[in-house]
Symmetry: C2
């Protein structure tokens, strides 16, 4: 048992920079922006507002929302507001959980990077971390 644990620990150390937890569905740049935006607006946002906040074209936004909806990270509902059709996008509970797990890995990347950059190099990153 002890041997197994040591072996696991060596393995984890050996793959220290693999960051397997960086879920590719979330990590893609446009989708990372979309999810961060939807996490910050838990009541949901209209297609138009989301498009503007994330600076995406209609086509790109539709495509990425389809991927996020298929992965059950986002739910999309259509309704009418003042007789005009409106598409509302919300992050799901599962989406929120997976996003939070993803963030923990992202923070590990930043901590590893900050350790790598060291104190001898003036870095925006290190000083930004120091302020948090």
């Amino acid at each position: 048992m002890e041997k197994q644990m040591t072996s696991r620990s060596v393995k984890a150390r050996a793959h220290r920079f693999a960051y397997d937890g960086l879920d590719r569905v979330i990590h893609e740049r446009a989708r990372l922006g979309l999810l961060t935006c939807l996490v910050a607006h838990p009541k949901g946002l209209s297609f138009g507002t989301l498009k503007q906040l994330c600076r995406l074209t209609d086509g790109n936004l539709s495509r990425h929302l389809q991927v996020l909806e298929a992965a059950k990270l986002v739910e999309i509902s259509k309704s009418h507001v003042r007789n005009r059709p409106q598409t509302l996008c919300r992050i799901t509970l599962q989406g929120r959980k997976r996003y939070v797990n993803y963030l923990a890995i992202l923070e590990q990347v930043i901590l590893d990077a900050a350790a790598g950059i060291g104190n001898d190099v003036e870095s925006k990153s290190a000083s930004a971390l120091a302020r948090t």
Copy 2:
């Protein structure tokens, strides 16, 4: 002039979740791991060590190193150690600078996310940030 600045500020606010600074060459998951690993080892690493630390196959590592070399973020040199050929990979000065700029945007994503997640939700992310 004042009008122009206001207009710029409104524009920046409007595209608040676009994160254009997340350079796609660096952001791809495997390459993010590779660069974080190379930043932490500024003297360079052999192909074999890099492959192990980032848990990549020979083919994947070669392909991503080619992209990073073409973008001048990484330099690759071949030599012989004890009569055996060795490939050494190092992050360039330009690579280091671009990586640090990239990190600053990544930290902004985390700060925006932490603000969005709020205090009412128990989150690994928020507690990890609090510890830094």
